[in-house]
């Protein structure tokens, strides 16, 4: 059984990866940390993502231990600079 999530990339992360969104399928009961490992394991440019990026699951900041479900929207949040 696999879990499909929609990942979003903004600002510097989007520029780094050259994409603003990516669908990712993960095996088992994956956490945010598993998703990050999956992406970073893809080599350049994904390996330039931080090991522990700020992440929001369904538009709320999440810990790296948070479990993911199919259909989740997982956004990688670079350091913010509003105001």
């Amino acid at each position: 059984m696999s879990v499909s999530v929609r990942t979003l990339f903004f600002a510097a992360y989007r520029d780094l990866l050259g994409t603003s969104a990516l669908d990712v399928a993960l095996e088992g009961q994956p956490t945010v940390a598993d998703l990050v490992r999956n992406l970073r394991a893809r080599g350049a440019p994904f390996d330039a993502l931080p090991e522990q990026p700020a992440v929001a699951v369904n538009r709320t900041y999440a810990e790296s231990s948070e479990l993911l479900s199919s259909g989740d929207e997982v956004a990688f949040i670079p350091p913010v600079a509003g105001g």
Partner: protein
């Protein structure tokens, strides 16, 4: 009533100001964040604001609601702009009103400080010399370290770094 918006259209201070105020209130405070013509000693000609809008709107409303609790009034209005801004354009407007001034100053300051800590918004500075870079931001709560940086003061521009561009 609490107002929170993320908008591509220009912010009109009078509109945000008109969203607060009550016969009970003795103090009104309006903060405007503007695009300025310099940053870290470098001449700036404009700024591009990017946002995760589907998340930024509820986070902004959450910040305004927290400020309202400190204020002891529901008169809080905040608007954040996105897109291309010129020097002097308003990037953020925060209006609060309350019976007494101490709470108004505290709540207004709370909103802008929390925006800078956790609103999913990013800005890219366009310099007069033609270069541009994402402004070094703040790691939001629960977030890890930002990606590859030369120094804590350096601009985050991993795209330029990847291209072998100017640091």
């Amino acid at each position: 009533m609490i107002h929170a918006s993320v908008q591509t259209s220009p912010i009109v201070p009078e509109t945000v100001l008109a969203q607060v105020g009550s016969d009970q209130d003795g103090a009104v405070l309006l903060f405007l964040g503007m695009v300025r013509n310099h940053a870290d000693g470098r001449a700036v000609r404009g700024m591009y604001y990017d946002a995760y809008e589907a998340m930024a709107v509820p986070v902004l409303r959450e910040i305004a609601t927290e400020a309202s609790a400190r204020l002891g009034s529901d008169r809080v209005a905040v608007a954040h702009r996105t897109g291309d801004l010129a020097i002097g354009d308003i990037s953020v407007a925060i209006a609060v009103s309350s019976p007494h001034r101490a709470e108004a100053y505290e709540a207004s300051r709370y909103v802008i400080e929390e925006i800078k800590k956790r609103l999913p918004v990013w800005k890219r500075e366009h310099y007069v010399d033609g270069e541009e870079a994402w402004v070094e931001g703040t790691v939001p709560p629960g977030g890890g370290a930002p990606p590859h940086r030369a120094s804590p003061e350096a601009k985050t521009d991993i795209a330029a770094a990847a291209r072998g561009g100017t640091p």
